[in-house]
Every structure is written in C-alpha cells, then in structure tokens.
Subunit: 332 residues, 2 copies
C-alpha cells in the first residue's frame, strides 16, 4: 500500500532569507513595499523579454543569497524552473552560479515544488543551503502561450495577467524561526476544462485535492492555519476552490487568500488577477514572508497551483491537467 | 562552505524493476532483444507523434510497475519529465496514474536526474516506491526543435538522431540486489558551443565535470566501475569526453560507453548516433540493467547528459548550457 502524500520534516528546515523583484505594474499593488527591487523598465535593460525574465530570476537568486548574509560558495544547490519552453530562464540563470542545479517543471506551482524538494533535501542532510526560485514575465508568456503583443488582442473576462517578477527562498538547516514542517506532493487532476483563458477554473480542483489531502493526513483543520495561500487561481478560481472545499465539508473561507487575486490593485485589464510562476514566487517571498517575520501570522499553508498544458496539447484538443504541491510553514 | 556535490545513500535504495518501449529503428540495434515492447508503428496507434510519445511514456511507467509485481496503488510517486515544451508527455502520462507527480526538466539528463531524486526520497524514507521515467520521440523532437519532417532537410554529419522510446525504473527501499549508492548533482557548464547540431560537443564538458567531481569526492577511479555510461554524447561527443578527462589525468577509455553511440547498428543517417531523453532511458533500463541483473557487470556509473537550450535561446544568439547528473549503481 502507498504511503501518505504528506512528508513531515522532523528536522524542520528553515527559510532563512528570500529575494524578490517585480515589474512596475506589480509593484503598484500590495507587493510594492515588500520586494527587494522594483523594475521601472520591464525589459530590465535587456534586448528581449526572455532575457529580462532570466535576468530577474538570476537577480532573485543572488538577492536571496545576499539577504541570507551568504556568498555563492556557501550554497549547495539551486532548485528552479519556469514557464518558458525548456525552462531556459532557470537553466541560463543557473549558468551564472557555480553550484549544482536541479531543473524542475511544474508550471505555476514551481515555487512550492522547488521549496518542497529543497526542504526534503535539507531535512535529509543531503544539503545545508538550497535556493528555491522561479519567475515569469508577462510579455514572454504572452508571446509563447498566446498572441504577439503587437496584435493587441482583446482578453476575455475570465483571463488572468501573467506576473512580471521573480522570487527565491533560501532553505537551510538552521538560521531563522520560520520552518517548513510538511510537504504534501500533489497528483495530476484534470476536470476537463479546455478553455486556456480559464486557468483558475482548471487549477482549483487540483488545489482542492492536495489541500484536503494535507488536512486529512496531518489531522488538521483550516483553523490550524492563519493563512491558506493558493498560487494563482485568481478571483474566479478562488471562488471555485471555496465551493469545492465547502462541498467536501471543509470551510476555508475565512483564512484563504490567493496570490493572483491580491497582487494587483486595480482590476481593470487583469480581470481575474495575476498568474504565472512569478505570481506566488513574488507574493509569498515578499508580502507573506514579511508577515511571518513580524509574527502577524505564524502558520501558513502554501499551495501554489500549476496548469500543465502547452500550446501543442491545447492545439491537439486536450484538456488542461493541473497540479498543486503544498507546503506547511510555521514560526517556531 | 558548500557540502560535496555527491550524496551517499546509506540505506542503499534499490532498482527493483524497469520497463521499456522503443521504435522499430531503435529495436534493430542492441536494445531490440532487451526492451519490453517494440513498436512496429512509431505512432503507437495515436493520431499525432506527441500523443505517441506520451503513450510510450505511460506504457513504460505501467510496465515498470507490472514488472515489479506491483499495482498502481503500491506506488508512492512518479518523477518524470521530457523534451516537449512544458513536459506535456510526462504531465499527461501522470494524469493516467493516481499517485503524486514531481515534474522535472533536465533535457536528456532527465533519466539520471529522476533516478537521483527518487533514490534521495526513498533513502530518506519519504517514499518506499517511486517510478523514475522519461522518453522522447524522433518526430516530435524534429518538429519542435528543428524542421518539419516533410521538408526533408539534409542533416549535417555532426548531428544525432533523437531516439523514439521510453524507459522507467522503480526505485524502492528493498526488493533487489541492484542499489543506487551515490548521486552527484551536476552544475551547468557552458563551453560556448552554438551549433545546435553538435550537442555531443556541447554536452561532453558537462559530463566531464560531474564524472570527475564524482570520482574525486568518492575517492574512486574509473577502475572502480565496470562501466561508465554517458547518455547521448554520440560518437564525436564521446571522443571529446575521453580527451577532456584524459587532459585532467583520468583515463576512462577502457570502461566508457555512450548510450547514443551504441544504440543504432547502422550509422548511416544517424551520423553520431542517438540522442534524446529516451536514449539513455531505453539503453540503461533494458540493455545495461540486463547486464547488471546477470552480474556480467556489477558497478556502473550512469551519467546522462542534457543540453539546456531552446529554439528561442538559440534564436536569440545564446550558446548551449549543459548539465549531467550522475548516479552510481552497484550489485550488492
């Protein structure tokens, strides 16, 4: 028989520092006062959006290490991935650093997958200091997944806006009070949604699946957490998640928040809010982490969510399989 | 200071079964007598090459579980990735199975990265049974990375032929004599090669880097291994690897073999041999594993190699960053 999907980390690996960067549109919202760097120019001085995305991710990794008071030579590993084909942002960012690199892909749940793997490795003693990081860029995502920006396509009301930003976290064996206590590894869930503009609806069942599994396996309730943070379900996806969990007899209403739903101040062209691997990477590693550091909140369940589609799979008539990896974070 | 890149697995996780499938061209070569299934039709009854690739991977996962005498409900996790954009083969294959999924991307070093993560998780007691798997398809790779097949482009002599095939391995806490004793996690190495038809030359320095690091950190020599198996350097890349290691004072000449160099019998249109994530997945999990089971060989160093480029990175003038993750396998 299978073991549980949840692993408890007995050695309580710590998040000792984070590093974040975001674009001007993102920094007009709640993360503006919390990120390490706000970009005035969303090309970050580069000639292409893809190079800008890679530079943001490399910046987030460097800043994370710097904020931990460490140098590159102290870091044992980087766990990273991103949305671009063949995760080039992560691979090319990793080239800048002289430590081992584990490439992962989990779409917009990359932040929690990378933190879960990093915590698992640190907990087992394989490493003492691992950087988990990811990011995304509105313009490179539009170009790859949707239409040329120059076309000026109208966006449907159920759509979200890919976040321009990157974030990293340094997971270590000691060095702070903020510990990763559990990881619940998600299964692929596909509810048959085929509308690529409605990612929130596609991802909500995956978030529901792993969150409920986590609560059941740890014998906890939503009240055990000050915040249950999903990645980028957006406003519509968040409503669906609340409905789905409610139907299963679990009420997450009063302590659920979605990074995509809260990242933008003015919901005008962003409709349902933010999305992209950078969304939860920026919100969690700046806004949420600052609350944890100040002990405004002490227990967080972080469930980033990923839609595992590609333009080819959609073009071939496939629906959108989704996943959510969950980690539990606690102030000791 | 950083820890070593090499992790020793004290609990010696085992490879208890493998499962493989390959196309007709591949099965005309050395793997023909060793794979579980030979495809007569490289579309595997599907309407597209991408769907065929996904079906091969799902077959390899199922066959691995069946060959281990297990059922899906016994498996704790799948660690998988592939070459297609957003690793759709792995994600859609994972949808068929009701166990957690860790998506990874490491190009053609996916087989050793997935086995390394699986062994790390089993060794730490997070899981008892994990399937590590990957695959590739000549026609989906050509379409995505190069030219439409219908164009009939001439291939340059330094090129390799993407393997149509998939392979999986079941890593468990017990159940066979074949153990994964070490993993050495690779760094990204970029020697400035920009010719996307010359992957072997680009990847050889990465293989050299991790293999030498492994030997140094374990205080071993090439003679401690019956075989040092690289993934898909091909004939030219293998020669470069031998030169590079020789220059560093390490002679791997007499026990080195490259999956890409040996997979095809007739080197006519394949030039330097095979490549793709499926290359080492098929050769290692069929041909090499059969030798380990028969104890013809007892100690293998497996260094799959990956080129972390995309069509966008090459189009924007970037060189090819490469990586190699290494695992040591030993008959107990």
């Amino acid at each position: 028989m299978r073991l549980m999907q949840t692993v408890e980390f007995k050695n309580k690996p710590r998040i000792i520092a984070t590093g974040t960067v975001a674009g001007p549109k993102e920094c007009a919202g709640i993360v503006g006062k919390h990120v390490d760097k706000t970009l005035d120019d969303d090309k970050f001085g580069e000639s292409t959006y893809e190079k800008a995305e890679c530079k943001m991710l490399a910046f987030a990794i460097s800043k994370t290490i710097e904020n931990a008071g460490l140098q590159d030579k102290d870091v044992d590993m980087l766990v990273s991935g991103d949305l671009l084909n063949q995760i080039i942002s992560a691979s090319f960012a990793a080239r800048d650093f002289d430590f081992p690199f584990l490439g992962i892909y989990s779409a917009c749940s990359t932040m929690s997958e990378s933190m879960a793997i990093a915590a698992a490795f640190v907990n087992a003693g394989y490493a003492k200091k691992i950087v988990a990081a990811t990011g995304s860029h509105f313009s490179s995502a539009e170009r790859q997944y949707r239409y040329p920006l120059e076309l000026g396509n109208t966006r449907p009301p159920q759509s979200q806006w890919t976040v321009t930003g990157a974030g990293g976290a340094l997971i270590a064996d000691k060095g702070s009070d903020i510990a990763i206590t559990h990881a619940t590894f998600g299964k692929v869930v596909d509810f048959g949604i085929t509308d690529v503009n409605n990612m929130g609806a596609a991802m909500a069942p995956a978030a529901c699946n792993t969150i409920l599994k986590h609560l059941k396996e740890t014998n906890r309730t939503p009240d055990d957490y000050d915040l249950i943070v999903t990645g980028d379900l957006g406003a519509l996806g968040s409503r669906i998640l609340k409905d789905l969990t409610w139907e299963k007899g679990v009420d997450i209403q009063k302590n659920h928040v979605d990074c995509g739903e809260i990242i933008y101040n003015v919901v005008e062209k962003e409709f349902q809010g933010g999305s992209g691997a950078g969304c939860s990477a920026v919100v969690f590693n700046s806004y949420i982490m600052d609350k944890l550091k100040k002990r405004t909140i002490n227990r967080v369940l972080f469930a980033a969510t990923g839609a595992l589609l590609s333009t080819v799979s959609s073009g071939q008539g496939e629906s959108i399989p989704c996943i959510s990896h969950v980690i539990a974070i606690e102030n000791m």
